[in-house]
Symmetry: C2
Subunit: 367 residues, 2 copies
Amino acid sequence: ASNRNLLVLPGDGIGPEVMNEVRKIIAWMGKKRAVGFDITEDLVGGAALDKHGVPLSDDAMKTALEADAVLFGSVGGPKWDTADFSKKPERGLLRLRKEMDLFANLRPAKVFDALVDASSLKPEIVKGLDIMIIRELTSGVYFGEPRGRHVNAAGEVEAFDTQRYTAPEIRRVCAVAFELARKRKNKVLSSEKANVMHTGVLWREEATKLHKEKYSDVKLDHMYADALAMQLLRAPKEFDVIVTDNLFGDILSDEASMLTGSLGLLPSASLGAPDATGRRKALYEPIHGSAPDIAGKGLANPIAQTLSYAMMLRYSFDLGKEADLVETAVENVLKAGYRTGDLLVGKTDGVKKVGTQEMGDAIVKEL
Amino acid sequence: ASNRNLLVLPGDGIGPEVMNEVRKIIAWMGKKRAVGFDITEDLVGGAALDKHGVPLSDDAMKTALEADAVLFGSVGGPKWDTADFSKKPERGLLRLRKEMDLFANLRPAKVFDALVDASSLKPEIVKGLDIMIIRELTSGVYFGEPRGRHVNAAGEVEAFDTQRYTAPEIRRVCAVAFELARKRKNKVLSSEKANVMHTGVLWREEATKLHKEKYSDVKLDHMYADALAMQLLRAPKEFDVIVTDNLFGDILSDEASMLTGSLGLLPSASLGAPDATGRRKALYEPIHGSAPDIAGKGLANPIAQTLSYAMMLRYSFDLGKEADLVETAVENVLKAGYRTGDLLVGKTDGVKKVGTQEMGDAIVKEL
Ligand SMILES: CC(C)[C@H](C(=O)O)[C@@H](O)C(=O)O
Ligand SMILES: CC(C)[C@H](C(=O)O)[C@@H](O)C(=O)O
């Protein structure tokens, strides 16, 4: 046995297609670098709904909890849009995040030199951009109770959600940000709406306290989430590590990802706390969704899924060298001019338009 | 008496400076167009805290409720950063919004041809951009109860906020969006996180119902707030009117405003429901904040405040012609190359760097 138990959850839409390309790389790694995995595959999202009536079966949940890592595709699609709240495909993903306690979501936004022109932003604003957004992933308004709907005293239908954060929840995700910053440019920007929300006030306090206690060597700044949404467009290169809550992180990391020109490029890692042996539960997924409009057409960009696999090599299996190999192969393929449709913006002279499989093959060949 | 009761609240930071420039235009309007106002002035934010110990006095609140319109500057600054939550300068503004019941916040994001180059985005993405974001302003997580902090059952400090929306609250702001869309490009994009939040589910349902009942001639689409944060960068010109809740509106409208190149340009209107005589309570304020870093230096751009005044002429006093005059004057001054510091990005040949007063004078001269 390889001692590397991997659960693969391709999900819906383009998930299975892009995952197929990663399988080619997994095979290459097994053959050429003797990096093997014990792979289990299961359903999630709409695919699981269709088969089991729930967006994630208890069996799959159990496998995920026992796996060394989960490689996740994407979920959702028009077929399941009218599903009840508790049965939306997204609930499968949210259940994984919550029950695996994956509180730290690492979302890099990095601009490849070869793709500077694919961004909607001017090259001078984004060239060389390399920021890391750390989003809290298991609390906040995504999970806070009470939540639901009722008829209020005035006889009106009313819906409500609760944003809730405890001091330890804030501290543990900020600690991940400070630790990472030490390996990068040594600065952290913490973002909330402390001028409006009580959770924001506590967030700022705890980030400040933790910084004083343990990380005063790292530079810490604070910015309201609305101001950050602007600064990310004005001067994104001023940032290095950004830490924020679940909901702000959802929006701001999607905004940041567009600075790079395509969602089709960006991976993410969701990590739990290390156990006694240093092992962390972990799930890796592309930033992009299931893109039902192009699903099944061989048009999807497999790079984000590929780089998610590379992040897994690095963060879950300490295979930094192999991760580098994959990342360099992707960079070279982009340099060589290979482009899926999502990347065909801006200058397109000297580029080669390819589909999902050709892009996957090009990466394997480059390896 | 003019029958136009105006309350002017310059506030903190650059607020008083930019308001001074608007006073020149008000004077011009009185002299040249016989458009006069009965003006009362009062304190808000840090200025009110210093004098009255509260960020808005009951007296000022009363005057605001009786006024035909409020012209607001900006609030906040480092001096008051450590103020208690209930005494933050921002609470003055939030009290005005809530007690005047200004539920519809209109935030235009328009790109002036003369300033296409000031945007961080490529000219082809933003040239001709003209979108209107309608943000719900009196409900949601800004005001929902319960909110606060306690020690939870596990003995941890925990903070919480409540996002709450009733069906009528959603309907009335969506109605404003549909009405406005009819005078524009006849399409509305409604945004929430219905895949995660119960308030989002109700929001989508009510927008859809109202559309069916009364506005089926307008095109209605829905988009999750994170996807919208991306699309605003990818293809902003696809949008016309966007309607969303208080918190998403705060972030997304700030993001959208950066597409235009500078916050120093953008006005906003916050409107209540029309009473029996058709009169709406209203407050007009620039999108930008108090910018403490440049306050008192004569560097601030008075255009956003000036255009807020123009919006007031149009929406509160039915003086569309006079509003046009002001807007055209601003456009011409920009065409002529006048630029405050915030606009000095991108190409700067043929431009004339000016301060707050020179910009104000140039606008009056152009009038
Ligand atoms: C699919 C959805 C529930 C999810 C979220 O909102 O967290 C997605 O947008 C993401 O960012 O991973
Ligand atoms: C000053 C602050 C309370 C306010 C808000 O969050 O609404 C501001 O950001 C705005 O958008 O008007």
